[in-house]
């Protein structure tokens, strides 16, 4: 070997300190920084330069640490977020402004965003919005919709870092996230940030084929013959059941496939070994022989006569079906003056959170302790107890770097638990971007046909809906989608004659599961696009058409449910009227001059609505919240409603503080650890503000009563808490509550309250009639879009989003949800299409960048709900539902193009424009 080929030490300056490491050959700098130098503030999202989460400054310039060989840092200066916030004035300003604007939601992209912003602020004093976008265009965010990040950078550049929240009341207070500081300083611990660098690493072996038989070679010989490999896990290592699922009666997914795999990326085994060995391990060396078998690629394959069955007990590959009907849809359509119909197809949509699934596990006194990002810690616990065949498990949720539904299902947890049990050692796992995309759940592709009639006055007269949903290889949340869709497919309108049928179809695709909206966004596309066509037939304005049909208090939904208050859809539409009129006239002017100047650009305005029932469909989904007062007078809130970035940590605390009557800042929060915190259910179905919020309200009220009783104070007395001193003012009397003299219970609390809330619903009958949800939230959005009619490209220019949230517990977080949902809706409408085997990375699967999301104007409507805490309604899913159809309607308004296949990529848009031109 030539003597120049050496493995030298690499020395460089990291955050002002000289460091010296001995990295592997061409080791990614991101690995060296995180694993050798402890800089866990550098996040890894894709290992391909597609997401920018790992951005660091090298010699002052932003680079992706995942694309930099550690050896290339030799002699250079490297700066990461944790170093920058110590010394750089721009970084210190950004720490404040990111919190002021809620520019960090889950926080996983935040280090990349902030480091990139620092580089900009060092070079440009007062950057324009365009300069900010150019500087941050390389960092993807999936939560915020970017607009608040832009505002935070503008404020930091101007030195406007103050935030006035001090005296904000808990309820309705525009306060900063309580957990924001950790996110903007890089100390927040996500799935891959908890375990130590030396812990054993787990890697899953996955099927390369959509359907394959397989057999292993000599696994024991494999382990014995490979230094650094400690164990191999297969189905044989599972003491309990090799089966999990989220819906009772539908659990069907193995941890490790046995004899045949049902989708590409399905796990068959896992290897456990020392980290450096695992990083150098070539998976092709694993002893497995594959036999590819014919697979069902989509609806047509799966629904063909004599199609092979994915599951032997599910004939015709139909997993389940749903139905809601009222009146007589056929008769109404027969008498309708106008009828429109359409067939729509949507694609798999990937959650594309910037943090791939990761976590760690260890044994503590014989119990398995799993640290991983999750939306449902107690469901994880129950599933893991079945898999491991033991109750001795503790789930400790770490910060989730985005969820949006996919972290409701198990992913890394079984592999971690089995690995630590088999080796007796602590273990870590971090999915690659590819395996995250291959193996976790997706939004269901839908194939929808819909007929809608209207009478001569433009009132809906019959609606017939039929939707098939590609649920992939396993059930996951497919049954939920199938149940939810027929309840929602009418949209928030009065539809007296209605029939909606849905079904979930198995294919050899990745399992489709929960994704913000559970099938409702797909249905809203069909319904709201056809509404525009129907309004045109009737000859009335699209907004007027919707106002005429909007559901009102006291009118029945398609399930026969009536609400006497809080049906806010009409208010949402009315709030958009002025914006609609202004936008319509502006685009008409633009288009006139565009035609004259022969410009290929056309603008259009689209509108659409959405509604969404909060909580489980006709099933119990209780939340429990616990609180206790310590002898030192500090009040602890056990808050198990997992915050995946949406803000439950803050909102639940605000509701509780309001009920108790103290400032939010006085609370000590304990998170969703299954040993410490009661079950607040899953972060899903827009239920946390409503359901866990009500439990928090009840717990606050109960604790308040108990404190008042201690002092014999009246119900009107006021509690104050400051630094552990609790005082009760009752008229002119002030009682000091001497918590130190009270006897603590086994948990160390001198006072406590535990309260549970479960939404009042009833089962649906065979026609889907009943009370599926105790509350709905409502939304209407307006999108202005510009279409290049020669290229088919679409740019969203403006969004106005009116949302009825009942009561905005925290307007800042409400805006965050709306803006983030809008961005995901734009992505779904324009660019997001997951194709198994083809778009398994973030450069072939596109999500919106900072340059793709226009300004979003949020209009918050507060029509109090009868059962929500202080009238509040859920919001998370509502934010996304109207966006895609509003954008598609804007495209049609601009260009005449009717898109029936989503996403509306430039080639599809251009084809649709040409179809109009060709008649």
């Amino acid at each position: 070997m030539n003597e120049v080929w050496v493995q030298p030490r690499v020395e460089f300056t990291l955050n002002g300190e000289r460091v010296s490491i001995r990295p592997a050959n061409g080791e990614r700098l991101s690995i060296s920084l995180r694993e050798r130098l402890g800089s866990r503030d550098v996040k890894v999202g894709c290992d391909a330069g597609d997401c920018g989460a790992c951005t660091v400054l090298m010699e002052g310039s932003p680079v992706c640490a995942c694309l930099t060989a550690s050896q290339q840092a030799r002699g250079k200066t490297v700066e990461t977020l944790s170093g920058l916030i110590k010394g750089d004035p721009g970084a210190r300003a950004l720490v404040e402004t990111f919190q002021n604007h809620g520019a960090a939601q889950c926080g996983i992209c935040t280090p990349g965003m902030m480091v990139s912003s620092v580089a900009l602020l060092r070079n440009v004093d007062c950057p324009t919005e365009q300069e900010i976008q150019d500087a941050l265009g390389g960092v993807l965010c999936r939560c915020t919709g970017y607009r608040k990040i832009i505002r935070a950078v503008i404020d930091a550049a101007r030195g406007e870092t103050a935030f006035e929240e001090v005296e904000a009341p808990p309820l309705g207070g525009r306060i900063r996230r309580l957990d924001g500081f950790a996110k903007v300083t890089g100390v927040e611990e996500f799935g891959d940030d908890v375990g130590d660098a030396g812990w054993l690493a787990v890697r899953v072996i996955r099927s390369p084929f959509a359907r394959a038989g397989f057999s292993f070679g000599d696994l024991q010989a494999f382990v014995d013959g490979r230094a650094g490999i400690e164990a191999v896990l297969t189905a044989a290592d599972i003491a309990g059941e090799n089966c999990f699922g989220v819906i009772p009666g539908f659990a069907d997914q193995p941890v490790f496939a046995v004899s045949e795999t049902r989708f590409a990326g399905e796990a068959v085994a896992a290897i456990v070994g020392y980290p450096e060995s695992m990083r150098a391990f070539d998976e092709d060396c694993f002893p497995v022989i594959w036999e590819e078998r014919p697979a069902l690629a989509g609806f047509d394959d799966a629904m063909a006569d004599n199609a092979p069955q994915v599951h032997p007990d599910r004939a015709g590959n139909v997993m389940c079906e749903g139905l809601v009907q009222c009146g007589n849809a056929d008769a109404a359509l027969d008498r309708a003056a106008h009828i429109v119909e359409g067939r729509f197809e949507t694609s798999f949509v990937e959650h594309a959170y910037i943090e791939p699934e990761a976590g760690c596990a260890r044994l503590v006194n014989g119990r398995v302790e799993i640290h991983a990002g999750t939306q449902a810690p107690v469901m994880d616990l129950e599933s893991m107890q079945v898999i491991l065949g033991t109750p001795e498990i503790r789930i400790i949720p770490v910060a989730a770097g985005g969820g949006f539904g996919a972290k409701l299902d198990l992913s890394v947890q079984p592999y971690l638990a089995l690995a630590t049990l088999k080796t007796g050692k602590p273990v870590r796992i971090a999915y690659s971007r590819r395996e995250s995309m291959q193996s976790t759940t997706k939004r269901h592709p839908a194939r929808i046909t819909m007929r809608i009639g209207a009478d001569a006055e433009g009132r809906i007269c019959g609606l017939d809906y039929d939707g098939s949903f590609n649920t992939g290889a396993y059930a996951s949340w497919g049954p939920t989608v199938v149940n939810r869709v027929p309840v929602h497919a009418s949209g928030p309108y009065l539809v007296a004659d209605y029939r909606a049928k849905s079904r979930a179809i198995h294919t050899n695709c990745p399992p489709s599961g929960a994704f913000r909206g559970f099938g409702v966004p797909q249905s809203a596309i069909a319904q709201e696009c056809l509404f525009d066509e129907l309004a045109e037939r009737v000859g009335i304005d699209p907004l007027e058409f919707r106002l005429r049909n909007a559901l009102r208090n006291g009118e029945p939904t398609v399930c026969g449910q009536t609400f006497n208050q809080g049906v806010g859809i009409k208010s949402c539409f009315q709030a958009l009227q002025a914006h609609w009129d202004a936008a319509r006239s502006a685009v008409a002017g633009f288009n006139d001059s565009a035609k004259q100047s022969k410009s290929p650009l056309r603008q259009g305005v689209g509108i659409a609505s959405g509604w969404y029932g909060c909580g489980n469909t006709s099933l119990p989904n209780p939340s429990t919240i616990k609180t206790g007062v310590r002898p030192d007078g500090r009040i602890v809130l056990h808050q198990g409603a997992v915050d995946i970035g949406q803000g439950a940590n803050t909102v639940i605390a605000q509701i509780f503080a309001e009920a108790l009557g103290i400032p939010v800042a006085e609370l000590i929060l304990v998170g969703g650890d299954t040993d410490l915190t009661p079950d607040a259910g899953k972060t899903s179905a827009s239920r946390q503000t409503y359901v866990s919020g009500n439990a928090a309200r009840l717990a606050g009220e109960t604790l308040r009563r108990r404190i008042l009783r201690l002092c014999n104070a009246s119900d009107s007395a006021v509690i104050s808490s400051r630094g552990g001193i609790i005082e009760v003012s009752d008229g002119r009397t002030v009682h000091a509550v001497d918590t130190g003299r009270l006897e603590p219970d086994g948990e160390g609390y001198v006072l406590r309250a535990v309260e549970t809330y479960d939404p009042p619903t009833t089962p649906l009958d065979e026609n889907g009639q009943g009370v599926p949800y105790a509350q709905f939230g409502y939304a209407a959005q307006l999108v202005v879009a510009e279409v290049d009619i020669a290229l088919g490209t679409v740019r969203a220019l403006q969004v106005v989003a009116a949302h009825d949230v009942g009561k905005a517990i925290n307007p800042l977080l409400v805006e965050g949800q709306i803006e983030g949902g809008v961005a995901q809706g734009l992505g779904m409408a324009l660019m997001e299409e997951y194709i198994p085997g083809r778009t398994e990375n973030l450069h072939d699967y596109l999500i919106p960048t900072i340059g793709d999301v226009p300004p979003v104007q949020c209009i918050i409507i507060e029509e109090a709900d009868a059962v929500g805490p202080y009238g509040a309604k859920g919001l998370g899913e509502h934010a996304l539902i109207p966006t895609a159809p509003a954008l598609l309607n804007a495209i049609r308004d601009a260009s005449g193009a009717r898109l029936r296949r989503i996403p509306a990529t430039p080639d599809r848009v251009l084809a649709a424009i040409r179809k109009v031109a060709d008649g």
Partner: protein, 297 residues
């Protein structure tokens, strides 16, 4: 607050530390001397090497060319401009160059993101030989040559010939692409570049068009036009170039591009767009790119 920190000390020694070798010489001579075996991978900015890298499949030897003096920076001589192959796109963007390079700079600004432009190199973009390489159409329009150096000799090859096909270039064992040479251009040449993608940043081209046009008396004296992402390697449309000669500047934005003009292209259907769409959009992009240079003039 959420999720306790757990810290357990563990043995950090790998049982089989892999044999590693990394060499980052600062002279070309040293680099060529070290480049003796086929298992050596040349590393520039790393932006094409790292994304598909899988564990256990790393090359046994990495020759990092980014410190090599002769391969860095932009210089001008009577023979034209010499852009070192290890020059990053950001360095090129920030280097003062005549308007003939505006199109190339515009292309550079569309490469990935600032992070990518800061490390990705011009030589890497060429050696990676992606049909959608953003730098290639403008370099073809500039009639770039590449300088290839081995321990024995140097040779110069037209970029058009250097790019053989997707992921295939005319580079032999022991050779390094050391520079891109741009022949001298009259100062009056104008250039433009348009890239069509499905989002604003971090996007792979559906199609690209680069132009380089010289006008005299408001007429096209010379025109060069290249299209990317519509054939195995980006191509110049020479028939169209010939037809443009003599055309009045006012006519450029009205130009009708025919199927015949596009005959050399052979676009594919992929996740970014259909072949048919690529041909349609290229016609429009050509018209706009020419209108853009006409407007500059």
């Amino acid at each position: 607050m959420i999720g306790q920190t757990i810290r357990v000390c563990a043995d950090w020694k790998a049982k089989d530390a892999s044999i590693v070798s990394y060499h980052a010489p600062d002279s070309l001579e040293d680099a060529l001397a070290a480049l003796t075996s086929a298992d050596t991978r040349l590393l520039g900015g790393g932006t094409d090497i790292f994304p598909p890298a899988l564990p256990g499949k790393a090359p046994t030897k990495i020759l990092d060319v980014t410190n090599i003096r002769e391969m860095r920076g932009v210089s001008e001589s009577a023979a034209g401009w010499r852009i070192g192959a290890a020059t990053s796109w950001s360095e090129l963007i920030n280097h003062p160059l005549p308007p003939a390079f505006d199109g190339l700079k515009a292309a550079a600004r569309t490469i990935g993101s600032v992070q990518i432009q800061n490390t990705a190199t011009i030589g890497g973009n060429l050696c990676n030989a992606s049909p959608a390489a953003d730098g290639v159409p403008s370099l073809l329009a500039l009639e770039a040559k590449v300088e290839i150096t081995s321990a024995a000799a140097s040779r110069w090859v037209a970029l058009e010939k250097f790019l053989i096909g997707p992921r295939r270039v005319d580079l032999k064992l022991g050779e390094i692409l050391t520079a891109v040479i741009i022949p001298p251009h009259p100062g009056k040449m104008r250039s433009s570049f348009l890239k069509l993608g499905s989002r604003k940043y971090l996007v792979i081209s559906i199609a690209m068009v680069a132009t380089l046009v010289e006008f005299t008396d408001s007429r096209v004296r010379r025109a060069r036009l290249a299209v990317g992402a519509c054939s195995p390697t980006a191509l110049r449309l020479r028939r169209l170039e010939n037809e443009l000669r003599g055309m009045h500047i006012e006519q450029l934005s009205e130009l009708v591009v025919s199927d015949d003009h596009l005959r050399p292209l052979s676009p594919i259907n992929d996740v970014r767009g259909s072949a048919e769409y690529r041909l349609c959009s290229v016609k429009e992009l050509i018209r706009r790119a020419l209108a853009e240079v006409a407007e500059i003039e």
